[in-house]
Amino acid sequence: MKYSMRFVLMVLAVVVIAAFAACAEGDVEVAPTVAPTATAEPTATATPEPTVEPTPVGPDLSRFADVPEIVDPTNYGWPRSVETTEGVITLDAPPEKIHSLSLGHTEILAALMDFERLSAVYSFFVDEEQSNIAGLSADHNMIGFDPEEVVALEPDVIVASRFTNADTVALLNGAGNLVVRAALENSALGNVPNILLIGYLIGAEAEAVALVEDIEARMEVISDLLPGGDKPRVLSISKFTSVFAAGSGSTEGGIIEQAGGINAAADSGIEGHLQVSVESIAAINPDVIIVPQPLEGADLFIEELVSNAALADVPAVKNGEVHYVLPKYHTTLSHWNVRGIEQLAGLLYPEAFAGVTFEDFSSWPDYGVGSE
């Protein structure tokens, strides 16, 4: 009986010790739930920064919902699909080697990704007067115009434009390449869906949104500063043996209208680029003439215009408003034509744009997350 009592006392003692231990462990578990509470008021402390991470602001992916070529605008993973006139293509992973058949698309790609991802460039990309990526292209792999050379590069995806020959696209498709035929528009904001499509295609959504926002901000500055009232009639002409005027539907015409001018050639019924005579210039009677062609020929042409007696009464000639403008800003179909709009707006409305400095567009990695 005496051993029984001792056993009972020992059991009781163990139970009490266990209960105590259990209570002690319960205190440990409670502690973490208290801790966040204690740190939940960092703004009231003197050192909040190290303890709170700012929420990263991602690209506004809702922008991609308006791009009709994106098959599933909720899918930002891989594989992803786009549908252009060449049909639906699906990329299983971000394309590492990209080939572009047009200068305009290459200029856009240069803003969205490392230029090294471009499989090759063409010789006219290095022309500093016509190309906005001449410097980047100078030391790059250069190929000729034979589609065989493109196939040999084994690109993951090929970007064609609406100007690319259908046979070339068929050949590249037939050789097993993935070809996307993307648009190129002559209006700055019209190109936004195109830039977003290219960004989505190569997995550079953040860069594409950043570039688009840059374009929109620049265009907003221009529209805010453009004065109301009468608009000047602007004629864009170039002389390559014969004289050509840029009418409706041309890149130059789009730039003129977005810079707050009236495209005088379009106003006179000219569509696209058509040959005109010196007499036609007198008949069109523009307030401003711009000459977007290589400087070597432009100098001679401007001299011819200002010294021609038949043009002496044309307001542009009479008022000294015949200007050379950089062809690479006025003939490109990429976002770089915004630079043409900015320069021309400054030329047409010097007072409104006095003190405003426009800068060139950046190339990757200055846009978005590409710099990581």
Binding site: S123, S268, L274, S277, S280, A283, A310, A312
Partner: protein, 365 residues
């Protein structure tokens, strides 16, 4: 489809073809020249009056009269400048080029006894095109406005010399070798032109070449007229001067020789003359299709095959035709322009087909 030119007899047959200028010949030349001259004067006034810039007809007429020393111009300074420095040089150049192509087409059709021959048959136009392409591709055309026509004229001359050398190989000149050599040289030079277009990566160069080949008068200046006129007028006068001997050559070289014609001299003079005036025309206008082929053909249908009548009237008719075509090219898309070479082919080809069908029996084809 070969046609023996000498025998069609249209408009008077071969009667008196080999004799000295008779009263009949002078009458026919004079009558034709009167009609074509009057039409040309009317067309000069019309072409001076129309264009993208609106100028009242009274201002145009008074300016034209003022320029020949009658009365004073009522035109404003700009109107006068447009008529005087833009429209008139273009009118004169169009007439000169058309005349050159018309008369050289007549010479070539006579020499080759083939009404399908045209001024470019011995590669002169292709040579001019290659020269022009060299000026455009090398950038020389941007240095001076004269370099492009100069290069084109040199190209025509080199092509002509090459074809003559080929035809004279072995010390014996052959018209058949000249024709085939001309086709071969023309094809070779055409390939160079095409290769330049295809291989250049400069889009503006491509565009310039294509436009130049399509032919046009838009670069006309008084300077162009001053350079082209002496070559073309001198060539035309030489051709008319030896037209009688060309008539005799149509009968056959041996027969002509028997009648006292210095066959080699006459043939070479006519070939060189036709080539030079074609070269001068091509240099300032580019390649203009159909004028050299269709104009002598039409004139022959009206006045017959006597080259003493055919050649001067082909010159006048060619000038008038190209003046009409160029005026249409200036106004049809106004204020834009159409290349005149496109228009001459668009007008010329259907008209030529119509004539062929209509005169099939008479032409023995």
């Amino acid at each position: 489809m070969l046609v023996f030119v000498g025998g069609d007899g249209a408009g008077g047959g071969s009667s008196g073809v080999s004799g000295p200028p008779s009263g009949s010949v002078l009458k026919r030349v004079g009558g034709g020249a009167l009609v074509l001259g009057a039409a040309t004067i009317v067309m000069v006034i019309v072409a001076s009056a129309v264009g993208p810039f609106n100028i009242p007809i009274s201002h145009t007429v008074s300016t034209l009269l003022d320029l020949i020393g009658i009365g004073d111009s009522a035109a404003k300074p700009t109107e006068r400048a447009i008529i005087q420095s833009i429209r008139l040089p273009r009118i004169f150049l169009a007439f000169l080029v058309g005349s050159a192509l018309g008369i050289s087409g007549g010479i070539m059709q006579g020499l080759f006894r083939n009404s399908m021959a045209d001024p470019g048959i011995i590669g002169v136009s292709s040579g001019g095109a290659t020269g022009a392409v060299a000026a455009i591709a090398s950038g020389a055309s941007t240095v001076s406005t004269l370099f492009l026509p100069l290069f084109a004229f040199i190209g025509s001359g080199v092509a002509m010399a090459a074809v003559f050398l080929i035809a004279s190989t072995g010390g014996r000149f052959s018209m058949m070798t000249l024709l085939l050599g001309g086709i071969a040289v023309g094809s070779f030079l055409g390939a160079i032109t095409t290769a330049t277009i295809v291989l250049t990566d400069n889009l503006s160069v491509q565009r310039q070449i294509i436009f130049w080949i399509a032919g046009g008068m838009d670069t006309a200046r008084w300077e162009s007229v001053r350079i082209a006129a002496p070559i073309i007028v001198t060539g035309a006068l030489i051709a008319v001067f030896v037209a009688r001997d060309l008539n005799l050559l149509l009968v056959g070289e041996d027969e002509a020789r028997a009648l006292g014609v210095r066959v080699t001299l006459v043939r070479n003079t006519l070939l060189v003359t036709a080539s030079l005036i074609t070269g001068a025309a091509v240099a300032f206008s580019g390649i203009i299709a159909f004028v050299g082929l269709i104009v002598p053909h039409v004139v022959r249908l009206v006045v017959g095959a006597d080259h003493r009548v055919l050649l001067p009237l082909s010159a006048l008719a060619g000038g008038l035709f190209l003046l009409i075509a160029d005026t249409a090219a200036r106004v049809v898309l106004s204020p834009a322009e159409l290349r005149v070479g496109i228009l001459t082919a668009l007008i010329g080809a259907p008209f030529f087909i119509y004539l062929l069908v209509r005169n099939r029996t008479r032409l023995s084809i």
